[in-house]
Symmetry: C2
């Protein structure tokens, strides 16, 4: 419905190259990666970038969408896992692993207007809530921890490990371990503030 003619083959190729180049460039240079550099890396002209993505934010949104959907799929798969505690830990591991490969942690404020992105994010939130509810029900995590907590906390291990300049690529696993021990019911102390509510 959007197009009578499908799309030219070279255009599709360029679009894919652009997405890949942009992901790499953002991962290396952070949010400040320039559109010009992305275009050069993809081997196209700057105009081509804006033809495919009207705005830099649209380009970012497209990348974010892919990654969020990827995590949602992983979470869905893990809802079938027998041990709910193992499933939750596996999900957090998957999320951290994705982010370790390419740190695109500026999925915040970027695609927040794009309904496709907000929708995808909501779906991911739902899956995480389900994973946490199951784990809590099984006694694998402390009773006072919520899905929102996990959504927030799962970003922490990479962030923390990212401060070490020449860190082992597995350092985040150490902090995920400590964090997850904090989520377990054994030896849990009462928390001094209520959990947040996420959109």
């Amino acid at each position: 419905m959007t197009s009578s003619r499908p799309q030219r083959a070279d255009a599709a190729r360029n679009r894919a190259a652009l997405l890949a180049a942009a992901a790499d460039e953002f991962a290396e240079r952070g949010m400040d990666a320039s559109v010009a550099d992305i275009a050069r890396r993809a081997g196209v002209g700057k105009g081509t970038v804006f033809r495919h993505f009207p705005t830099k934010d649209d380009l970012i949104a497209a990348i974010v969408l892919d990654r969020v959907d990827e995590l949602t799929a992983a979470g869905d798969r893990l809802l079938g896992e027998a041990d709910p505690g193992v499933a939750l830990l596996a999900f957090m591991t998957a999320a951290a692993h994705q982010r370790q490969q390419r740190d695109l942690s500026f999925l915040h404020g970027a695609g927040d207007v794009d309904p496709a992105v907000t929708g995808a994010r909501e779906r991911m939130y739902r899956v995480i809530h389900d994973l946490v509810d199951r784990a809590r029900g099984a006694g694998a995590v402390r009773p006072d921890v919520t899905g929102a907590d996990v959504i927030l906390l799962m970003c922490a291990p990479n962030y923390v490990a990212g401060y070490v300049p020449d860190a082992s690529p597995d350092l985040w696993r150490r902090y995920l371990g400590i964090l997850f021990d904090g989520l377990r019911p054994q030896g849990a102390h009462p928390l001094p503030a209520p959990p947040p509510t996420l959109a």
Copy 2:
């Protein structure tokens, strides 16, 4: 020795105003706060900024220096506290509290060349190591946790809470609670990666 004449009174006043305005501006706008805006906020001209701080990075370094020294002093004080576990938690609380008031988390890569800043940071690291060693010795934290771990982890609660748009200003306390429970010896699981070594 640096100056035959001390410094003009108005210059000193401007320097102080500039530091305060810059801290506020950076906290609100992040690293992208422009020098022009800082100058306007301090009620001076842009030239005056560069007279006091040859470079934007020098301005940042001056701010960072203050804050690091502040934390070092707090840590030193807490080394006199009777309960080592309480002391460590209090230090992490102080650090998070400071950062909650003004998030200046781009103390990284900014003043890293300035020897004054690196020296101050090293002093802070020493104090943290001492606090952690004491706490570990007292059995207040798990045996496999190091000073470097705490240095990295103490940044996490604010980071995590920062994702919530209209969060309670105390939300970071919740995540510091979870994190600290993960540092306790009760119910600790072996960690899958060795601790890092920090410069």
